[in-house]
């Protein structure tokens, strides 16, 4: 696996060799790429070896010579439950979904319940746009076979791998759940928004609670999934309507606690990631980029697109996802 920032011409030349690739970049560049074995998603934010940056004149390309077969599917929200039907034995799948699309919300809530969903490593991300363009420009994903872009569907690349390689997916969450004595939040139903929550067992207005207790909503809510800490980030708090919106769904019956504050985002990433990112596929969250003020700050050797949501089986927030192909 090779990660590179390439010019449009260099990326096109690589595609022309028949290489299997995932590509992140500005829509204007993605739209000019030739047809081939690639999938793409829009992003203009990247983590590079020298730090976070907004890049519009190059494409972040991951080339996968380890892939022996690549099958690309475009799946609408209603087709996502069949995602596992494309899984190749011993392989992995990469999924890209446009932010704010129906596929985004449906996958986030229902994905982990799809039949056979966990039977193969699944990684990916939610495509985005420059923050100044939200509401004006729609995030897109691309099917490289046709060169077509999609604003409502997901694009999935199912890969078969060379014999002897095992894909390993993991997440890096720089946050820790607050202490057991901190308030616990449960939600009456799953979804991207909530007006009320059971806070330490008492049903309360969530927006009012956040305001009255001066909660720093840049910190995610964290749930513990059998030892995997899964973040849900607060998108907005509307005190008029009383609605709190999230970047990933809160799930009914799950206990959440807010994260402990961090002193230094970039240092936390560097500390947890260590070395070895050059040969790994990774993506990081736009909220980490913003709240951690990562522009121009190096966070280690893990580079990749900065996204509107990360996928390691399920949709994540404020998390780095990484995929490594290891020898069996």
């Amino acid at each position: 696996m090779k990660n590179e920032l390439l010019s449009l011409d260099a990326a096109a030349a690589r595609i022309a060799t028949g290489a299997v690739m995932t590509i992140a970049g500005d829509e204007a560049l993605l739209a000019q790429l030739p047809r081939g074995n690639w999938i793409g998603g829009t992003s203009v934010y990247f983590v590079t070896e020298t730090g976070g940056a907004v890049i519009r004149d190059k494409l972040y390309c991951t080339t996968l010579p380890e892939a022996t077969v690549a099958q690309i599917r475009v799946l609408g929200a209603d087709e996502l439950p069949q995602i596992a039907q494309g899984y190749a034995t011993g392989g992995l799948s990469i999924i890209l979904i446009p932010a704010f699309s129906r596929a985004h919300s449906v996958f986030a809530v229902d994905g982990p319940s799809y039949a056979g969903f966990f039977n193969q490593p699944l990684v990916g991300w939610i495509s985005g746009v420059h923050l100044d363009d939200i509401g004006r420009v729609a995030p897109k994903v691309f099917d490289g076979r046709s060169g077509r872009s999609y604003g409502e569907e997901a694009v999935v690349m199912h890969l078969s791998l060379s014999e002897g390689l095992v894909p390993q997916v993991d997440i890096v969450n720089i946050f820790a759940q607050n202490d057991a004595t901190a308030p616990a939040f449960r939600f009456p139903q799953s979804g991207f928004a909530a007006k009320t929550a059971l806070i330490d067992g008492r049903e309360m207005s969530l927006a009012a609670y956040l305001r009255d207790n001066d909660i720093d909503t840049r910190l995610p809510l964290i749930a513990n999934y059998g030892g995997a800490l899964i973040n849900v980030s607060v998108q907005s708090v509307n005190h008029e309507s009383g609605e709190v919106a999230f970047y990933a769904p809160v799930m009914q019956g799950v206990e959440y606690r807010f994260a402990k504050p961090l002193d230094d985002y970039a240092a936390a990433f560097s500390r947890q990631l260590g070395v070895g990112g050059e040969g790994q596929y990774s993506c990081n969250c736009i909220l980490n980029y913003l709240y951690g003020e990562l522009e121009g700050k190096a966070t280690g050797s893990f580079t990749g697109p900065v996204t509107f949501g990360e996928i390691a089986y399920m949709l994540l927030n404020q998390t780095l996802v990484r995929l490594e192909l290891q020898a069996a």
Partner: protein, 68 residues
């Protein structure tokens, strides 16, 4: 690697124990199964079956759960 005993899987789903050394897939799936059973305890048999099927298909998961 032998498949885990269903009664042990039932205990695992009904517990709050972390399996931090397990693969991400096993941890997230277990987390989801726990949520579903917590919301509807009558699902426990179906969720043990689902976890057993996951282990059967993904033999690394048998390693993950071998020491529970």
């Amino acid at each position: 690697m032998a498949l885990p005993n269903p009664s042990k899987l039932k205990t695992l789903i009904q517990s709050e124990d972390n399996i931090s050394s397990a693969s991400l897939a096993t941890r997230i799936l277990l987390g989801r199964l726990r949520i579903e059973v917590r919301n509807n305890p009558t699902l426990i048999v179906a969720k043990v079956t689902e976890l057993m099927e996951f282990v059967r298909v993904n033999r690394y998961a048998a390693d993950d759960l071998a020491h529970i």
